[in-house]
Amino acid sequence: MSLTLERDSLAALSLGFSLFGSGGGGSPHLLRLLLEQSDDWPIEISSVNELEPSTPCFAPAVAGSTLLFSERLPGQDAFAPLLESAERWLGTRIPAVCSAEGGGMNGLAPLLFAPGRTVVDADCTGRAVPSLDQFSLLVDEVPGLIVVCDTGANGIVLVQSDRPADIEKMVRSALVQAGGVGNVLVAGFTIDDLRRHAIAGHLERALELGETWMESSCRADSSAGVIGGLRRIGAGRVTSIVQDLDDEHVHTAQIVGERGEVCRLIARSEFLAFVVDGRVHAAAPECLVAVDPLTSEILEATALSVNQRIEVWSLPVDDWWYRREHRLRRVTPAEYRLAGLDIARPDSTRAGGNDVR
């Protein structure tokens, strides 16, 4: 069942993807500005069930440093050379586009291709993730996938491998060559692959979540602690932010809670876990959202600072991640060599309350 996306919905959709960013994935703000200038509104969004299963599809994304991305604004046709290379390699036009990463800025990327390509409501992550090999199609090792990437100075690299880790390494090298940030395009899959190996309906869910969040009037009813799928799991003042001794990318914000509880918000490029008085209350793949309670600004992991007051919300991801053990393994904190933060039973995590005494 198709969805007609109006220009007015863009703000709520951006907000929804920000929430699924889990403190990472970059801000959708710039892509939203680009899309608002487009004349091609409204945009029709098709569901995976409406399209012919054999229809080829691609997933565009900006990868690398989101900070650099904000300094090097993308053109609307930045993906054109990548798409052309992918179609030449595959020997066929790719008529459908879906989102590669449904958290942060990349959630809006497929809309750049409307109306020339059919935008399909399917996503390869359901939240922001730091690596390409965490895209659902690569996690499930869908055969025939290719990844095309900028290398800078009009260079393009196309990688095909049965090992997702190789793809991640090759593309990461290309991005370094490109100056730290670049466009990436995943292709070589079909609508049928999306039905079985991706998160269908994620765009619509992000839109609904964004609308609910906005309708809550900047969370005037947040005292209830639940907005849509979001659950408020902590609030307090950041008293310190310390870098991990073993992994310089890992930072732990210590938060003194409203009732004196000792909270830890552990982040890499995204928030990965929230611990209260030594108990893990939420952890990836669940999304964690840090919000400034005064401005309602959704804070990225890099934006936390000492003495800042924040609220922490958890947002469940699609069950797709939980259906197979190998999927879950790729997104829990243990994937990042962070011991003691995985939650064995996600269902109990969602049902769990704050037991601070």
């Binding site: 008293t239 310190s240 991990d244 073993d246 732990t252 210590q254 008085d277 962070l338 003691g340």
Partner: protein
Amino acid sequence: MSAELSTETLFAHSDNGGLAYVAGPVNREWEGSEIVDDIGGLENRTHSDALLILTSTLPATPWQQDALLRTVRDRGFAGIACQNARVADDGAKRLAERFRITVLETDDPFKLAKACWHLLEARDALTLHYIRKVAHAIEYPAAELNDLLAHFSANIGHSIALIDEGGPLLESRESLPADLHREIDFTKWLSTAASGRYTAVSVRVDSPARQGLRLIIYGVGIGDRQLHALGTVAEVMMPAVAARIMIDEHATVSDSAEASQLIRDFLEPRSRHDPHIERRMHQRGWGTAGAHVAFHVALREPAATYSVHRAIRRQLETSGLPAPRTSTHEQGVLGWLTFAEAPSPAALQSHLTTLRQAFFSVREHLDVAMGVGSLKFGAAGLVDSINEATGASRMATGLSKSGYLVQVERYGVEELLLTWTTSDAFLPAAETLLAPLNAESGALVETLAEYLDNGSIVQATSQAMGLHRNTVSMRIQRAQQLLGIDLSSSESRLALHLACRAVLGRR
């Protein structure tokens, strides 16, 4: 709750594996202890108010530290000790406070576990543990009693002192608090005492050389079981201490006799420039080069000279004076300060002030007098200064109004002599001598004094007194008759002259 196992008793245990406080409640008592390799290895039961000892180190990441503390709390423990606990971050320390869990660091968890066992269950083992330490301490050579106490103290890990009812005589490690000293029962063979956070156990020292001594072991947080064990330890140490006192006394007496003989030899006029005596002086560390100020402390009542010597030496050692040399000499104690170069007048005054203070401190316990010689140079100068000091101390013994202290440097020879005339011994004699004159007329004493002041010349005396020369002559003749003394004798004149000064000075 038992106070046998607590932060205080553990810190007071000499072999606690290098225990250090990290976070949580500072004063904590535990019902027991448990040692495990890993928190996951604990049985899933509560350990009511026990101390958990982990053989593994504290996790490095803050959230793992939090999780560990949570598990410790959930299992009912009230404290945790492990290696590297000092790396606990601020949040973990805050959480320890929140959960009321004491976090301790130990370098050796097994030693800590053993210490817990000693305190909780194995009193005899604890005693044996201490006795072994005492045995080890005896293996080390001790030059004197102080050394022996230091070895004992270092080995058992507690402060030790030798005390009498007046206070501590020797202390090792920490000073004995005065409040604790007041609580000690000197009548019992073995007694315990407590004051504030300090507890102690003491035993009487049966030494024929010194009476009223006790050997005391004390410290902060020593629990009942430790005190019981340390009581036995004190009893075991006591004979060694008593024997050491005897040995030291004997050594002191022998040394004192030898030193005293050397001083006598040095002062002998015929021994001057004797290289053999010079060499013996040097061997004792009594260099004769440089500048010297001697002092002599004389006894005003019978006492063992070497005991006084020991008391004075102890007082001087703590006075800050530059390495005073001391020896028994002439019913007292001789000492001198040696300077490589002549000290400035201010510096010398400062040293002499310190010496006076030390003397007055000694006088609080002993009835002594002190004479201080003047600053002299070289071997001959040292002899002179010693002779001055010895003479001055003889005078000082009768000078109550000068505090039984005479400093040659302060007086000229004449003034010194006159000062002597005011001594407690001379005045009564002078008054007796002149009593016949006073019985007849006070004018006779005054005329006699003026006559002697004016060189025994009648004319000069009559002029000085405004009297007729015949009156003066008559009074002098009358005085001679009454006193029965021949004024043509210079010795008689000198004695009468001094007696007149003393008597008229008192008036």
